[in-house]
């Protein structure tokens, strides 16, 4: 079916389990046989009892048959117990096989983990190196930053010089503001106006009289 051509492998464990299972099968066969034997002998016994119901107790053949049945029954019980034992053993074995698989899986995982960890061996060195490189990088940055700061100073100096030159070339353009010298004192005016109003009012009230 398009699968790999390799045959199914039979391992030592398989052979051991096979042996167990074969003995289990034998016991299984035995129990079946004994079961059949017992039931047939029981039938026979019943017939014998039916044949002569009175003397069956003293009949040695009947007694013998019953003893035989009991013995077979005993054997059957034993066989069944052994059967259970064998079945349990087989299950235990199969479980153990699974467990060995589990251990193998763990081992394999551990190996790979070890291998991977080996690659981390000089991680300290690497980290130190990285640290150093970063420090170096910072140093370089600082140096570069300094030179840039120098240029900045230069720029402000140029600015200052330009300002100075500008001042020299266009000397003070003073904005001409209207003179405030001739204006009366601010504080006196409102007082004066209110006085005038009062005066006006007085005049107003008096005016109709005058008119």
């Amino acid at each position: 079916m398009g699968q790999k051509g390799s045959k199914v492998q039979i391992t030592e464990n398989d052979r051991a389990i096979l042996q167990l299972k074969r003995s289990r099968d034998e016991i299984h066969k035995f129990t079946r046989r004994t079961d059949l034997l017992i039931s047939s002998e029981r039938l026979k016994l019943k017939e014998m009892i039916k044949e002569n119901p009175t003397k069956c107790k003293s009949d040695p053949r009947v007694r013998f048959l019953l003893k035989r049945i009991h013995y077979q029954d005993h054997l059957l019980q034993q066989a069944l117990e052994q059967l259970i034992n064998l079945e349990n053993l087989v299950s235990t074995l199969e479980f153990k096989l699974v467990e060995t698989q589990f251990i193998k899986g763990l081992e394999r995982g551990n190996q790979i983990l070890k291998k991977l960890n080996k690659e981390f061996e000089n991680v300290d060195e690497l980290m130190d190196d990285v640290q150093m490189q970063i420090a170096y990088q910072e140093e370089v940055d600082e140096v570069l930053a300094h030179s840039i700061v120098g240029v900045n100073d230069f720029e402000t100096e140029i600015d200052k010089e330009l300002d100075q030159m500008e001042r020299e070339i266009n000397p003070q353009q003073q904005i001409e503001m209207p003179s405030v010298d001739k204006l009366p004192d601010l504080k006196q005016r409102p007082i004066a106006s209110s006085e005038r109003k009062e005066q006006g009012k007085k005049e107003g009230t008096e005016a109709p009289v005058l008119a």
């Binding site: 079916m1 699968q3 790999k4 051509g5 390799s6 045959k7 199914v8 492998q9 039979i10 398989d14 052979r15 389990i17 096979l18 299972k21 074969r22 099968d25 299984h28 066969k29 079946r32 199969e94």
Partner: protein, 188 residues
Amino acid sequence: MSNQSELPPIYSFPPLYTRQPNGLIRRQQINSWIEIILQYCISQKCWRMTAEGMPVGEPDVTKQSIFNNSSIQRVVPQVFVDEIWSQMCEEGKALGVQDGKRDSSQFYILWRNLDSWASLILQWFESSGSLNQVITIYELSQGDGTADWEFHGMPEALVAHCLKPLCQRNRATLIKDERGIAVATKVV
């Protein structure tokens, strides 16, 4: 045969017991016989028959040939019986007990063909979780785990035959005992 109720009515048809001279009719006749044999074997769970048509197996199976119908007193002549077996083997519905030879003294009756049995067995392996474990042939045919399956009770040699298609597909291996008889299998 005693349990005629399980057989089709044509079983009581006297001309069926005489080899028909016309080839076309004879083919029909042989097909009817094959049908009868398969039906009988399914109903009786009979896996093996002698070349004379006697069912082999459990001690309580009737000891009369299927080719001998006492109620209408007809018997198929052995020559014609051999012809029926040969045709059945050709169609894969019977298998000689001795290494699958057609002139065996006994035949396995296959109401499913070998491939169909193989896939049924494979189905059991898959559904019972028995893959990758050693399973004895006895366990397959007689064990308690297969009691509900159609192949339960199959003769062990026939089980081994049914496992061969799986071996050819590299799904199974037969494990043989010291006498070279397949006793167990491992299916993956």
